[in-house]
Amino acid sequence: MAIVTCEQISYQYAKASIHQPLALIDVSLRLEQGKFYAIVGATGSGKSTLLQHLNGIYQPTKGKLQVYDVVFAAGAKVKGLKPLRSRVGLVFQFPEQQLFEETVEKDLMFGPIQFGADEQQARAAAVEALLAVGLDEAFMARSPFELSGGQMRKVAIATVLASNPELIVLDEPTATLDPVSRTELIALLKRLCVEQGRTIVMVTHRLDEVLAAADEFILMQQGAVTYTGTRADLIRSPHLLQAADIVVPNEMKLAHEISERLGIVVDELPSGIEGWADWLIHNSDAASKAVDRYATDSSASQQEQTDKASPRGMTESDEKGE
Protein backbone atom coordinates (compact mmCIF):
# COMPACT_ATOMS: atom_id res chain seq x y z
CA MET A 1 0.00 0.00 0.00
CA ALA A 2 1.37 3.39 -0.93
CA ILE A 3 1.55 5.71 2.05
CA VAL A 4 3.27 8.56 0.24
CA THR A 5 2.64 9.65 -3.32
CA CYS A 6 4.47 12.60 -4.88
CA GLU A 7 3.17 13.73 -8.21
CA GLN A 8 5.59 16.06 -9.92
CA ILE A 9 6.21 18.22 -6.93
CA SER A 10 8.52 21.22 -7.09
CA TYR A 11 9.60 23.47 -4.29
CA GLN A 12 11.10 26.92 -4.18
CA TYR A 13 12.36 28.45 -0.98
CA ALA A 14 10.49 31.66 -0.24
CA LYS A 15 13.61 33.73 0.25
CA ALA A 16 15.54 32.14 -2.59
CA SER A 17 17.20 34.57 -4.96
CA ILE A 18 16.33 34.36 -8.63
CA HIS A 19 19.70 32.80 -9.34
CA GLN A 20 18.96 29.95 -7.03
CA PRO A 21 17.50 26.95 -8.82
CA LEU A 22 14.39 25.21 -7.49
CA ALA A 23 15.13 23.07 -4.47
CA LEU A 24 12.93 20.30 -5.87
CA ILE A 25 12.04 19.82 -9.50
CA ASP A 26 9.20 17.61 -10.67
CA VAL A 27 9.70 14.89 -8.11
CA SER A 28 7.45 11.86 -8.47
CA LEU A 29 7.66 9.02 -5.98
CA ARG A 30 5.60 6.31 -4.33
CA LEU A 31 6.57 4.97 -0.94
CA GLU A 32 5.10 1.68 0.27
CA GLN A 33 4.39 0.78 3.85
CA GLY A 34 6.92 -1.41 5.64
CA LYS A 35 9.87 -0.73 3.40
CA PHE A 36 13.28 0.78 4.13
CA TYR A 37 14.12 3.58 1.71
CA ALA A 38 17.56 5.13 1.40
CA ILE A 39 17.88 8.51 -0.25
CA VAL A 40 21.35 9.34 -1.53
CA GLY A 41 22.62 12.36 -3.37
CA ALA A 42 25.39 14.92 -3.45
CA THR A 43 25.56 17.87 -1.05
CA GLY A 44 22.68 20.23 -1.72
CA SER A 45 20.78 17.92 -4.06
CA GLY A 46 17.45 18.48 -2.29
CA LYS A 47 17.33 15.52 0.09
CA SER A 48 16.52 17.51 3.23
CA THR A 49 13.93 19.59 1.39
CA LEU A 50 12.17 16.47 0.18
CA LEU A 51 12.17 14.91 3.65
CA GLN A 52 10.61 17.98 5.20
CA HIS A 53 7.69 17.61 2.81
CA LEU A 54 6.78 14.29 4.35
CA ASN A 55 5.36 15.86 7.50
CA GLY A 56 4.23 19.10 5.95
CA ILE A 57 6.96 21.45 7.16
CA TYR A 58 7.35 22.40 3.54
CA GLN A 59 4.45 22.12 1.16
CA PRO A 60 4.93 21.85 -2.59
CA THR A 61 4.95 25.00 -4.71
CA LYS A 62 3.92 22.87 -7.66
CA GLY A 63 2.38 19.43 -8.02
CA LYS A 64 0.57 17.24 -5.53
CA LEU A 65 1.69 15.26 -2.53
CA GLN A 66 -0.27 12.78 -0.48
CA VAL A 67 1.00 11.44 2.86
CA TYR A 68 -1.41 8.93 4.40
CA ASP A 69 -4.78 10.69 4.18
CA VAL A 70 -3.43 14.23 3.92
CA VAL A 71 -3.25 15.84 0.50
CA PHE A 72 -0.96 18.79 -0.16
CA ALA A 73 -1.74 20.53 -3.40
CA ALA A 74 0.24 23.50 -4.64
CA GLY A 75 -1.30 26.80 -3.62
CA ALA A 76 -3.51 25.40 -0.85
CA LYS A 77 -1.79 25.58 2.51
CA VAL A 78 -2.79 22.70 4.77
CA LYS A 79 -3.06 23.43 8.48
CA GLY A 80 -3.82 21.28 11.53
CA LEU A 81 -1.07 18.78 10.89
CA LYS A 82 -0.87 17.33 14.37
CA PRO A 83 -2.56 14.04 13.47
CA LEU A 84 -0.17 13.62 10.54
CA ARG A 85 2.84 14.45 12.68
CA SER A 86 1.89 11.77 15.17
CA ARG A 87 2.20 9.27 12.32
CA VAL A 88 5.27 10.74 10.62
CA GLY A 89 8.33 11.31 12.79
CA LEU A 90 11.14 13.40 11.36
CA VAL A 91 14.71 13.44 12.65
CA PHE A 92 16.35 16.66 11.50
CA GLN A 93 19.82 16.94 10.05
CA PHE A 94 20.98 19.00 13.03
CA PRO A 95 19.95 17.58 16.40
CA GLU A 96 19.92 21.09 17.88
CA GLN A 97 16.79 21.71 15.79
CA GLN A 98 15.01 18.93 17.60
CA LEU A 99 15.86 19.65 21.21
CA PHE A 100 14.56 22.50 23.30
CA GLU A 101 13.73 21.38 26.83
CA GLU A 102 15.94 21.64 29.87
CA THR A 103 16.27 17.91 30.37
CA VAL A 104 16.53 14.96 28.05
CA GLU A 105 13.56 13.44 29.86
CA LYS A 106 11.28 16.37 29.08
CA ASP A 107 12.38 16.38 25.47
CA LEU A 108 11.69 12.67 25.15
CA MET A 109 8.27 12.93 26.83
CA PHE A 110 7.19 15.94 24.82
CA GLY A 111 6.09 14.00 21.72
CA PRO A 112 4.13 11.25 23.45
CA ILE A 113 2.28 13.82 25.62
CA GLN A 114 1.50 15.99 22.59
CA PHE A 115 -0.03 12.98 20.93
CA GLY A 116 -2.20 12.00 23.89
CA ALA A 117 -0.16 9.78 26.21
CA ASP A 118 -0.40 10.29 29.96
CA GLU A 119 2.64 11.11 32.08
CA GLN A 120 3.36 7.52 32.98
CA GLN A 121 3.02 6.18 29.44
CA ALA A 122 5.15 9.02 28.15
CA ARG A 123 7.90 8.29 30.65
CA ALA A 124 7.89 4.61 29.77
CA ALA A 125 8.11 5.46 26.07
CA ALA A 126 10.94 7.87 26.80
CA VAL A 127 13.03 5.31 28.64
CA GLU A 128 12.42 2.69 26.00
CA ALA A 129 13.49 5.03 23.21
CA LEU A 130 16.59 6.11 25.11
CA LEU A 131 17.69 2.54 25.66
CA ALA A 132 16.95 1.72 22.03
CA VAL A 133 19.52 4.24 20.85
CA GLY A 134 22.12 2.92 23.26
CA LEU A 135 22.03 5.49 26.05
CA ASP A 136 21.31 4.54 29.63
CA GLU A 137 18.67 6.01 31.94
CA ALA A 138 21.16 8.32 33.62
CA PHE A 139 20.88 10.55 30.54
CA MET A 140 17.25 11.38 31.42
CA ALA A 141 18.26 14.06 33.90
CA ARG A 142 20.93 15.67 31.72
CA SER A 143 20.53 18.84 29.71
CA PRO A 144 20.32 17.98 26.02
CA PHE A 145 22.68 20.85 25.26
CA GLU A 146 25.43 19.58 27.50
CA LEU A 147 26.03 16.40 25.62
CA SER A 148 28.60 15.39 23.08
CA GLY A 149 27.64 15.72 19.41
CA GLY A 150 26.96 12.01 19.02
CA GLN A 151 24.98 11.75 22.25
CA MET A 152 22.87 14.71 21.21
CA ARG A 153 22.17 13.03 17.91
CA LYS A 154 21.11 9.84 19.68
CA VAL A 155 18.75 11.78 21.95
CA ALA A 156 17.26 13.57 18.93
CA ILE A 157 16.58 10.21 17.28
CA ALA A 158 15.07 8.91 20.52
CA THR A 159 12.67 11.88 20.75
CA VAL A 160 11.17 10.73 17.48
CA LEU A 161 11.13 7.04 18.35
CA ALA A 162 9.37 7.81 21.65
CA SER A 163 6.22 8.91 19.80
CA ASN A 164 6.10 5.61 17.96
CA PRO A 165 5.51 6.99 14.45
CA GLU A 166 4.48 4.69 11.59
CA LEU A 167 6.73 6.47 9.14
CA ILE A 168 10.19 7.34 10.43
CA VAL A 169 12.08 9.88 8.37
CA LEU A 170 15.73 10.56 9.20
CA ASP A 171 18.04 13.17 7.72
CA GLU A 172 21.64 11.95 7.83
CA PRO A 173 21.12 10.38 11.25
CA THR A 174 24.52 8.71 11.19
CA ALA A 175 26.63 11.79 10.47
CA THR A 176 28.19 12.22 13.90
CA LEU A 177 27.78 8.70 15.22
CA ASP A 178 30.81 6.53 15.83
CA PRO A 179 31.01 3.70 13.28
CA VAL A 180 29.68 1.00 15.57
CA SER A 181 26.77 3.19 16.70
CA ARG A 182 26.06 3.77 13.03
CA THR A 183 25.74 0.05 12.36
CA GLU A 184 23.62 -0.37 15.48
CA LEU A 185 21.24 2.40 14.45
CA ILE A 186 20.72 0.92 11.02
CA ALA A 187 20.10 -2.50 12.56
CA LEU A 188 17.53 -0.91 14.88
CA LEU A 189 15.74 0.80 11.98
CA LYS A 190 15.76 -2.42 10.02
CA ARG A 191 14.17 -4.24 12.96
CA LEU A 192 11.44 -1.62 13.29
CA CYS A 193 10.77 -2.13 9.62
CA VAL A 194 10.78 -5.91 9.49
CA GLU A 195 9.28 -6.71 12.88
CA GLN A 196 6.78 -3.88 13.23
CA GLY A 197 6.02 -2.91 9.66
CA ARG A 198 7.22 0.65 10.13
CA THR A 199 8.35 2.53 7.06
CA ILE A 200 11.84 4.04 7.11
CA VAL A 201 13.08 6.85 4.92
CA MET A 202 16.69 7.69 5.58
CA VAL A 203 19.03 10.16 3.94
CA THR A 204 22.68 9.33 3.91
CA HIS A 205 25.70 10.14 1.81
CA ARG A 206 27.31 6.88 2.75
CA LEU A 207 25.69 4.47 0.40
CA ASP A 208 27.80 1.63 1.80
CA GLU A 209 26.19 1.80 5.23
CA VAL A 210 22.67 1.15 3.91
CA LEU A 211 23.58 -1.16 1.06
CA ALA A 212 22.54 -4.29 2.94
CA ALA A 213 19.63 -2.82 4.90
CA ALA A 214 17.62 -0.73 2.46
CA ASP A 215 14.96 -2.22 0.19
CA GLU A 216 14.83 0.68 -2.23
CA PHE A 217 17.32 3.35 -3.21
CA ILE A 218 16.38 6.82 -4.34
CA LEU A 219 19.04 8.91 -6.05
CA MET A 220 18.76 12.67 -6.11
CA GLN A 221 20.65 15.16 -8.19
CA GLN A 222 20.11 18.91 -8.33
CA GLY A 223 16.59 18.78 -6.97
CA ALA A 224 15.43 15.90 -9.12
CA VAL A 225 14.98 12.21 -8.39
CA THR A 226 17.08 10.46 -11.02
CA TYR A 227 16.57 6.87 -9.95
CA THR A 228 14.55 4.60 -7.71
CA GLY A 229 15.16 0.89 -7.53
CA THR A 230 16.60 -2.05 -5.68
CA ARG A 231 20.14 -2.78 -4.61
CA ALA A 232 20.61 -5.31 -7.40
CA ASP A 233 19.52 -2.80 -10.03
CA LEU A 234 21.87 -0.26 -8.58
CA ILE A 235 24.83 -2.64 -8.61
CA ARG A 236 24.11 -3.47 -12.23
CA SER A 237 24.29 0.17 -13.19
CA PRO A 238 27.16 2.01 -11.51
CA HIS A 239 26.93 4.76 -14.14
CA LEU A 240 23.73 5.94 -12.43
CA LEU A 241 25.70 6.69 -9.31
CA GLN A 242 28.48 8.36 -11.20
CA ALA A 243 25.95 10.54 -12.98
CA ALA A 244 24.48 11.59 -9.65
CA ASP A 245 28.01 12.42 -8.48
CA ILE A 246 28.02 9.64 -5.91
CA VAL A 247 31.13 7.58 -5.22
CA VAL A 248 30.52 3.90 -5.90
CA PRO A 249 31.12 1.99 -2.64
CA ASN A 250 33.81 -0.69 -2.71
CA GLU A 251 31.31 -3.38 -1.88
CA MET A 252 29.36 -2.50 -5.00
CA LYS A 253 32.50 -2.47 -7.11
CA LEU A 254 33.33 -5.94 -5.87
CA ALA A 255 29.80 -7.20 -6.56
CA HIS A 256 29.79 -5.68 -9.99
CA GLU A 257 33.17 -7.09 -10.90
CA ILE A 258 32.44 -10.57 -9.63
CA SER A 259 29.12 -10.62 -11.37
CA GLU A 260 30.75 -9.62 -14.66
CA ARG A 261 33.72 -11.94 -14.40
CA LEU A 262 31.90 -15.02 -13.19
CA GLY A 263 28.61 -14.39 -14.92
CA ILE A 264 26.57 -14.51 -11.72
CA VAL A 265 23.43 -12.41 -11.42
CA VAL A 266 23.87 -9.82 -8.73
CA ASP A 267 20.72 -10.90 -6.92
CA GLU A 268 22.58 -14.08 -5.97
CA LEU A 269 25.52 -12.23 -4.48
CA PRO A 270 25.83 -11.72 -0.74
CA SER A 271 26.00 -8.49 1.21
CA GLY A 272 27.87 -7.35 4.28
CA ILE A 273 31.35 -8.40 5.41
CA GLU A 274 30.21 -11.71 6.91
CA GLY A 275 28.12 -12.58 3.92
CA TRP A 276 30.93 -11.84 1.50
CA ALA A 277 33.54 -13.74 3.48
CA ASP A 278 31.39 -16.85 3.62
CA TRP A 279 30.48 -16.59 -0.02
CA LEU A 280 34.10 -16.10 -1.13
CA ILE A 281 35.29 -19.02 0.95
CA HIS A 282 32.55 -21.17 -0.47
CA ASN A 283 33.42 -20.18 -4.01
CA SER A 284 37.18 -20.47 -4.00
CA ASP A 285 39.44 -23.49 -4.33
CA ALA A 286 42.27 -22.05 -2.24
CA ALA A 287 39.84 -22.06 0.58
CA SER A 288 38.37 -25.50 0.23
CA LYS A 289 40.85 -26.78 2.80
CA ALA A 290 40.09 -23.87 5.03
CA VAL A 291 36.41 -24.51 4.62
CA ASP A 292 36.90 -28.10 5.71
CA ARG A 293 38.84 -26.99 8.72
CA TYR A 294 36.26 -24.37 9.48
CA ALA A 295 33.44 -26.87 9.19
CA THR A 296 35.09 -29.45 11.42
CA ASP A 297 35.77 -26.91 14.14
CA SER A 298 33.30 -27.44 16.93
CA SER A 299 29.95 -25.84 16.35
CA ALA A 300 30.64 -23.86 19.50
CA SER A 301 33.29 -21.88 17.72
CA GLN A 302 30.88 -21.32 14.85
CA GLN A 303 28.49 -19.92 17.36
CA GLU A 304 31.21 -17.65 18.62
CA GLN A 305 31.76 -16.41 15.09
CA THR A 306 28.14 -15.50 14.61
CA ASP A 307 27.99 -13.84 17.99
CA LYS A 308 30.86 -11.69 17.00
CA ALA A 309 29.28 -11.11 13.64
CA SER A 310 26.23 -9.43 15.03
CA PRO A 311 27.37 -6.48 17.07
CA ARG A 312 25.62 -6.12 20.37
CA GLY A 313 22.25 -4.55 19.84
CA MET A 314 21.93 -0.88 20.59
CA THR A 315 20.01 -1.79 23.72
CA GLU A 316 23.05 -3.40 25.26
CA SER A 317 25.37 -0.56 24.53
CA ASP A 318 27.39 0.61 27.43
CA GLU A 319 27.31 4.32 27.07
CA LYS A 320 26.84 5.77 30.53
CA GLY A 321 25.12 9.00 31.29
CA GLU A 322 26.90 9.42 34.58
Binding site: A42, A175, P179, H205, D208, D245, V247, K253, A277
Partner: protein, 274 residues
Amino acid sequence: MIRLENIHFQYPKREALFSDLKLHVPRGQWVSIVGPNGSGKSTLVKLVNGLLSPDSGTIHIDGTLLDGESVSDIRRRTGYLFQNPDNQFIATTVRDDIAFGMENRCVPRADMKQRIDAIAEQLGISEWLNRHPASLSGGQKQRVAIAGLLVLNPEIMIWDEATSMLDERSKQDMLLRLRHLHKNQGLTILSVTHDAEEILASDRAVVIRNGVIAADMSPIQLFEDRNLAWECRLQPPFSLALSLELREKGMDIGLHHHEEELMRALWPSLHVNK
Protein backbone atom coordinates in the same frame (compact mmCIF):
# COMPACT_ATOMS: atom_id res chain seq x y z
CA MET B 1 54.19 22.01 18.50
CA ILE B 2 51.24 21.04 20.68
CA ARG B 3 52.03 19.86 24.17
CA LEU B 4 49.45 18.92 26.79
CA GLU B 5 50.75 17.96 30.22
CA ASN B 6 48.88 16.63 33.27
CA ILE B 7 45.55 17.84 32.03
CA HIS B 8 42.65 17.57 34.44
CA PHE B 9 39.25 18.59 33.23
CA GLN B 10 35.72 18.26 34.51
CA TYR B 11 32.45 19.77 33.29
CA PRO B 12 30.49 21.43 36.11
CA LYS B 13 28.55 18.92 38.21
CA ARG B 14 29.94 15.95 36.26
CA GLU B 15 32.58 13.37 37.04
CA ALA B 16 36.13 14.15 36.01
CA LEU B 17 36.59 13.59 32.28
CA PHE B 18 40.37 13.88 31.97
CA SER B 19 42.69 13.02 34.82
CA ASP B 20 46.32 13.50 34.00
CA LEU B 21 46.01 13.45 30.24
CA LYS B 22 49.17 13.93 28.24
CA LEU B 23 49.64 14.45 24.52
CA HIS B 24 52.52 15.71 22.39
CA VAL B 25 52.09 16.50 18.73
CA PRO B 26 55.26 17.46 16.85
CA ARG B 27 55.19 20.14 14.17
CA GLY B 28 53.93 18.94 10.83
CA GLN B 29 52.19 15.84 12.16
CA TRP B 30 48.68 14.88 11.11
CA VAL B 31 46.85 13.32 14.03
CA SER B 32 43.41 11.72 13.94
CA ILE B 33 41.53 11.85 17.22
CA VAL B 34 39.13 8.91 17.25
CA GLY B 35 36.89 7.05 19.67
CA PRO B 36 33.31 6.41 20.78
CA ASN B 37 30.64 9.10 21.07
CA GLY B 38 30.99 10.97 24.31
CA SER B 39 34.56 9.85 24.97
CA GLY B 40 36.06 13.35 25.16
CA LYS B 41 37.36 14.11 21.65
CA SER B 42 35.64 17.47 21.22
CA THR B 43 36.56 18.45 24.74
CA LEU B 44 40.20 17.70 24.01
CA VAL B 45 40.36 19.86 20.89
CA LYS B 46 38.44 22.66 22.59
CA LEU B 47 41.12 22.68 25.28
CA VAL B 48 43.83 22.94 22.63
CA ASN B 49 42.09 25.92 21.09
CA GLY B 50 41.40 27.61 24.41
CA LEU B 51 37.62 27.33 24.12
CA LEU B 52 37.73 25.45 27.41
CA SER B 53 40.39 25.72 30.10
CA PRO B 54 41.78 22.79 32.05
CA ASP B 55 41.22 22.65 35.80
CA SER B 56 44.91 21.96 36.09
CA GLY B 57 47.80 21.11 33.81
CA THR B 58 49.41 23.04 31.00
CA ILE B 59 49.00 23.42 27.27
CA HIS B 60 51.84 24.79 25.17
CA ILE B 61 51.45 25.71 21.52
CA ASP B 62 54.77 26.16 19.77
CA GLY B 63 56.44 26.86 23.09
CA THR B 64 53.91 29.43 24.25
CA LEU B 65 51.84 28.64 27.32
CA LEU B 66 48.16 28.84 26.51
CA ASP B 67 46.57 31.24 29.01
CA GLY B 68 44.23 34.21 29.13
CA GLU B 69 46.92 36.44 27.69
CA SER B 70 48.17 34.30 24.83
CA VAL B 71 44.86 32.76 23.81
CA SER B 72 43.81 35.28 21.17
CA ASP B 73 47.23 35.25 19.58
CA ILE B 74 47.26 31.46 19.53
CA ARG B 75 43.78 31.37 18.06
CA ARG B 76 44.94 33.60 15.23
CA ARG B 77 47.52 31.02 14.29
CA THR B 78 45.28 28.02 14.59
CA GLY B 79 42.23 27.33 12.50
CA TYR B 80 39.41 25.63 14.34
CA LEU B 81 36.29 24.05 12.87
CA PHE B 82 33.33 23.21 15.07
CA GLN B 83 31.49 19.89 15.01
CA ASN B 84 28.36 21.82 14.05
CA PRO B 85 29.08 24.34 11.26
CA ASP B 86 26.22 26.55 12.49
CA ASN B 87 28.48 27.55 15.37
CA GLN B 88 30.98 28.86 12.85
CA PHE B 89 29.04 31.58 11.08
CA ILE B 90 28.76 35.19 12.17
CA ALA B 91 27.98 37.26 9.08
CA THR B 92 24.89 37.31 6.88
CA THR B 93 26.59 36.33 3.65
CA VAL B 94 29.16 33.67 2.99
CA ARG B 95 31.53 36.27 1.53
CA ASP B 96 31.34 38.53 4.59
CA ASP B 97 31.78 35.58 6.83
CA ILE B 98 35.01 34.55 5.14
CA ALA B 99 36.13 38.19 5.11
CA PHE B 100 35.45 38.50 8.82
CA GLY B 101 37.98 35.83 9.64
CA MET B 102 40.54 37.58 7.48
CA GLU B 103 39.90 40.97 9.08
CA ASN B 104 40.52 39.35 12.40
CA ARG B 105 43.92 38.32 11.20
CA CYS B 106 44.65 41.72 9.68
CA VAL B 107 44.73 40.62 6.07
CA PRO B 108 44.99 43.84 3.99
CA ARG B 109 41.62 44.76 2.50
CA ALA B 110 43.09 44.93 -0.98
CA ASP B 111 44.06 41.25 -0.88
CA MET B 112 40.82 40.04 0.56
CA LYS B 113 38.55 39.94 -2.41
CA GLN B 114 41.08 38.20 -4.57
CA ARG B 115 41.87 35.61 -1.90
CA ILE B 116 38.20 34.90 -1.25
CA ASP B 117 37.50 34.47 -4.93
CA ALA B 118 40.47 32.17 -5.33
CA ILE B 119 39.55 29.86 -2.44
CA ALA B 120 35.89 29.89 -3.47
CA GLU B 121 36.88 28.81 -6.93
CA GLN B 122 39.11 26.04 -5.58
CA LEU B 123 36.49 24.64 -3.25
CA GLY B 124 33.60 25.09 -5.65
CA ILE B 125 31.64 27.48 -3.45
CA SER B 126 31.66 30.55 -5.72
CA GLU B 127 27.97 30.42 -6.45
CA TRP B 128 27.09 30.58 -2.77
CA LEU B 129 29.20 33.60 -1.83
CA ASN B 130 26.24 35.97 -1.69
CA ARG B 131 23.92 33.63 0.15
CA HIS B 132 23.10 33.63 3.82
CA PRO B 133 25.04 30.80 5.49
CA ALA B 134 21.82 29.59 7.13
CA SER B 135 20.24 29.00 3.72
CA LEU B 136 22.86 26.43 2.76
CA SER B 137 22.53 22.68 3.08
CA GLY B 138 24.49 20.89 5.80
CA GLY B 139 27.27 19.79 3.50
CA GLN B 140 27.47 23.17 1.80
CA LYS B 141 27.88 24.80 5.19
CA GLN B 142 30.78 22.53 5.95
CA ARG B 143 32.45 23.33 2.65
CA VAL B 144 32.05 27.04 3.29
CA ALA B 145 33.43 26.68 6.80
CA ILE B 146 36.47 24.83 5.47
CA ALA B 147 37.04 27.52 2.83
CA GLY B 148 36.87 30.20 5.49
CA LEU B 149 39.58 28.41 7.36
CA LEU B 150 41.91 27.49 4.52
CA VAL B 151 41.94 31.05 3.22
CA LEU B 152 43.68 32.05 6.47
CA ASN B 153 46.64 29.71 5.94
CA PRO B 154 46.77 28.63 9.59
CA GLU B 155 49.86 26.84 10.91
CA ILE B 156 47.77 24.44 12.92
CA MET B 157 44.43 23.15 11.84
CA ILE B 158 41.96 21.68 14.30
CA TRP B 159 38.96 19.99 12.78
CA ASP B 160 36.10 18.57 14.81
CA GLU B 161 34.29 16.26 12.39
CA ALA B 162 34.53 19.00 9.81
CA THR B 163 33.62 16.74 6.88
CA SER B 164 30.87 14.68 8.54
CA MET B 165 28.09 15.98 6.30
CA LEU B 166 29.95 16.13 3.02
CA ASP B 167 29.04 13.73 0.29
CA GLU B 168 31.75 11.19 -0.48
CA ARG B 169 32.96 13.03 -3.54
CA SER B 170 33.47 16.35 -1.71
CA LYS B 171 35.00 14.49 1.18
CA GLN B 172 37.58 12.80 -1.02
CA ASP B 173 38.26 16.21 -2.51
CA MET B 174 38.89 17.75 0.90
CA LEU B 175 41.05 14.84 1.90
CA LEU B 176 43.22 15.35 -1.15
CA ARG B 177 43.56 19.02 -0.32
CA LEU B 178 44.46 18.21 3.25
CA ARG B 179 47.09 15.73 2.13
CA HIS B 180 48.56 18.32 -0.16
CA LEU B 181 48.71 21.03 2.51
CA HIS B 182 50.17 18.62 4.98
CA LYS B 183 52.85 17.45 2.60
CA ASN B 184 53.81 20.72 0.96
CA GLN B 185 53.35 23.23 3.73
CA GLY B 186 54.03 21.04 6.71
CA LEU B 187 50.68 21.92 8.23
CA THR B 188 50.04 20.45 11.67
CA ILE B 189 46.61 18.84 11.78
CA LEU B 190 44.53 17.66 14.67
CA SER B 191 41.33 16.14 13.37
CA VAL B 192 38.49 14.49 15.24
CA THR B 193 36.95 12.02 12.84
CA HIS B 194 35.09 8.74 12.44
CA ASP B 195 35.99 8.47 8.78
CA ALA B 196 38.17 5.44 8.04
CA GLU B 197 39.71 6.91 4.90
CA GLU B 198 40.67 10.09 6.67
CA ILE B 199 42.13 8.18 9.60
CA LEU B 200 44.18 6.04 7.24
CA ALA B 201 45.48 9.11 5.43
CA SER B 202 46.81 10.60 8.67
CA ASP B 203 50.14 9.90 10.40
CA ARG B 204 48.84 8.86 13.76
CA ALA B 205 45.64 7.73 15.45
CA VAL B 206 45.01 8.75 19.04
CA VAL B 207 42.06 6.87 20.50
CA ILE B 208 40.16 8.47 23.35
CA ARG B 209 37.94 6.23 25.44
CA ASN B 210 36.20 7.42 28.60
CA GLY B 211 38.56 10.36 28.84
CA VAL B 212 41.69 8.23 28.57
CA ILE B 213 44.06 7.78 25.65
CA ALA B 214 43.34 4.13 25.03
CA ALA B 215 45.65 3.74 22.05
CA ASP B 216 48.18 5.84 20.23
CA MET B 217 49.56 4.19 17.11
CA SER B 218 49.70 4.22 13.34
CA PRO B 219 46.25 4.12 11.75
CA ILE B 220 47.01 0.87 9.93
CA GLN B 221 48.02 -0.86 13.16
CA LEU B 222 44.80 0.28 14.76
CA PHE B 223 42.54 -1.03 12.02
CA GLU B 224 44.42 -4.28 11.70
CA ASP B 225 43.90 -5.01 15.38
CA ARG B 226 40.30 -6.10 15.13
CA ASN B 227 39.60 -6.33 18.83
CA LEU B 228 41.08 -2.97 19.62
CA ALA B 229 39.27 -1.35 16.72
CA TRP B 230 36.02 -2.91 17.88
CA GLU B 231 36.51 -1.78 21.45
CA CYS B 232 37.11 1.72 20.17
CA ARG B 233 33.91 1.41 18.13
CA LEU B 234 35.76 1.77 14.85
CA GLN B 235 35.18 -0.12 11.67
CA PRO B 236 37.84 -0.66 9.03
CA PRO B 237 36.96 0.24 5.46
CA PHE B 238 35.26 -2.50 3.42
CA SER B 239 38.27 -4.06 1.67
CA LEU B 240 40.36 -4.25 4.81
CA ALA B 241 37.42 -5.52 6.87
CA LEU B 242 36.79 -8.24 4.33
CA SER B 243 40.43 -9.34 4.16
CA LEU B 244 40.56 -9.46 7.96
CA GLU B 245 37.37 -11.51 8.09
CA LEU B 246 38.68 -13.91 5.45
CA ARG B 247 41.92 -14.34 7.34
CA GLU B 248 40.04 -15.09 10.53
CA LYS B 249 37.99 -17.69 8.72
CA GLY B 250 41.08 -19.40 7.38
CA MET B 251 41.46 -17.86 3.92
CA ASP B 252 44.50 -15.64 4.15
CA ILE B 253 44.91 -13.56 1.04
CA GLY B 254 46.86 -10.81 2.78
CA LEU B 255 45.49 -7.52 4.01
CA HIS B 256 44.23 -5.18 1.36
CA HIS B 257 43.16 -1.60 1.66
CA HIS B 258 41.89 -1.13 -1.84
CA GLU B 259 39.18 -2.93 -3.71
CA GLU B 260 41.42 -3.41 -6.78
CA GLU B 261 44.15 -5.09 -4.71
CA LEU B 262 41.61 -7.26 -2.97
CA MET B 263 40.12 -8.30 -6.27
CA ARG B 264 43.56 -9.14 -7.68
CA ALA B 265 44.31 -11.29 -4.66
CA LEU B 266 40.95 -13.05 -4.81
CA TRP B 267 40.68 -13.61 -8.47
CA PRO B 268 43.07 -16.56 -9.02
CA SER B 269 41.20 -18.83 -6.64
CA LEU B 270 37.68 -17.76 -7.45
CA HIS B 271 35.23 -19.97 -9.27
CA VAL B 272 31.61 -20.78 -8.84
CA ASN B 273 30.92 -23.65 -6.44
CA LYS B 274 27.34 -24.55 -6.99
